[in-house]
Amino acid sequence: MKEKLTTIKQAITLVNDGDIVALQTMATVASPMALVRELIRQKKQNLGLVVLVGGIPVDWLAAAGVIDRLIGAAVTMEQFGLCQQYRQAVEQGRIRVEEISESVLNARLGAGARNLPFLPTRGAIGTDLMKENPDNMKLIEDPFGGLPVIACRALNPDVALIHAHRADRFGNVQYEPTAIWPDIGIMPNAAKKVIVSAEEIVDTEVLRKNPDRTVLPGFIVDAVVEIPYGAHPTSFYPNYGYDSDFHRQWTAISRDKDQVSDFLQKYVSTPVDQSDYLKLIGGKTVLKHLARWEEEE
């Protein structure tokens, strides 16, 4: 097997300006935040994002001017509210949105993963999503005489960014039993390149104990880096919960340009590495607290 272990800096050089980047993210769940911070540090430009439901990473990438388009089903931080930087950018026409439903996203990525030109869905029929997206969603007849379907055009993102529980140095990636969203279940399969951060790099022998938990084979992965707490401030079950305080800090200032700039300076530009970042966000005290999941207290 081929060596895929590298540094976060090297890994993110695989992302080119203008790329379409598939980003693992739900409202507050499992997002490769260390990789996202590195995108900002490397001042990537004109990226397009593919998300199922984007949360804080989308807001940060919008705030930092890294992205100019988004393909996705929703952007929100659930109980923490809307992503204001993203919202402003869309309202001002700086980010163009191709809004698609979850089944359309599944179909576009599924077609990409299978190298098929399209997959069909009957979700979203009758909505305005189709009207705004004639290049990627076309109503076609069922050749067997049944109801028409929406053909959803194959989408192959240039690169997928993923955070996982463990990986070996050859890019074989495991996920603990938990919700498997399309961002891990299909996005990397459709992408042309895959970059993975993992809570820990382990010996391949460890993976062989639970082959059913391996979600990505090394041969589709291009780079893997070890980043403990790499999903902070999003949750990473069962390791740690989302950081409510951190999310609230962000939403408290996220409408204000200057404060946003200071925030990103502090949490994204200044830390020299993940260990430095973890100190900054509160160190062991906060991490211990998150490991308990606030709902369980």
Binding site: E78, S101, S103, A124, T127, P182, Y242, E295
Partner: protein
């Protein structure tokens, strides 16, 4: 299951959220399958209440992920792991969910909120304003709503802010297909079921059988028909005869909501 829930008297004091929860709970039968999305504290409370009372076998797919979970109480997010604690099965969200959720074979009922809902039950969670690419307000987006609306689900909308801004004659953008232009315009696309009920802070509405226009079903205690009409951005159809009053939650239901289901008051957030 509380033994005396069937004979419990209507409560005198309750919050509007608690009323909505009790109305929604009533919609779920023992042989139904239901699921919830993000920010769905009220539907989750309704499912849990139904399961504690008249519908113990109601199948619940928590957050579209966890089958038959046992959360201790409603957690701070309805799309995070604590909600699907102790599930029997995790539904994988690309493949399995396509079979169980994004088809019209299973999981028939869904409760959801919408920024705008129009007289034919079309829902908008996408943009406010005419220019899609430079909207007045960019809303979160359709998420799975566009799918569920078109895939034969029965949809139950809740709305804590009944106003001419949220109940509009025509939505700015159809993120979720209701009855489209009314009458048989939904049927003609082969879309089954659709919006069933709209429960707001003022009233309960359903849809006229023929025209598919929104129709007042009941007004909440203390609210007049005129008040509801004045707060609605289009003319509501009225039922024949007197408009009934929405049933109040019972004391037993309130006890379950406040003590067992949602002691942290997530329903009020």
């Amino acid at each position: 299951m509380s033994a005396d829930w069937q004979n419990s008297p209507p409560a005198d004091e309750y919050s509007i959220e608690e009323l909505i929860i009790s109305v929604l709970a009533e919609q779920f039968r023992n042989d139904d399958q239901a699921t919830n999305g993000m920010g769905s504290f009220i539907p989750v409370a309704a499912f849990m209440l139904a399961r504690m009372t008249h519908a113990p076998d109601l199948i619940w797919l928590a957050g579209t992920v966890g089958l038959e979970p046992r959360p201790k109480r409603i957690p701070a997010s309805t799309l995070e792991a604590p909600l699907w604690k102790d599930s029997i099965m995790y539904i994988e969200q690309y493949g399995d969910a396509w079979h169980y959720l994004f088809s019209d074979r299973w999981i028939e009922k869904f409760c959801v909120g919408a920024a705008q809902l129009d007289q034919f039950g079309n829902a908008n969670n996408s943009v406010i304003g005419a220019d899609y690419h430079a909207p007045k307000v960019r809303l979160p987006g359709t998420a799975g709503l566009a799918d569920l609306c078109s895939l034969g689900k029965k949809l139950y909308y809740w709305n804590l802010n009944h106003s001419p801004k949220s109940l509009v004659e025509k939505v700015d953008f159809i993120s979720g297909a209701g009855y489209l232009d009314g009458h048989d315009t939904r049927d003609k696309l082969g879309l089954k079921n659709g919006p069933q009920l709209v429960v707001t802070n003022l009233a309960v509405m359903d849809f006229h059988k023929e025209s598919k226009r929104m129709q007042l079903k009941s007004v909440h205690p203390g609210i007049s028909v005129d008040e509801v009409q004045a707060a609605t951005g289009f003319e509501l159809l009225l039922p024949q005869g007197t408009v009934p009053e929405t049933a109040r939650p019972t004391e037993a239901q309130l006890g379950m909501i406040r003590e067992d289901i949602d002691p942290d008051g997530m329903r009020n957030k």
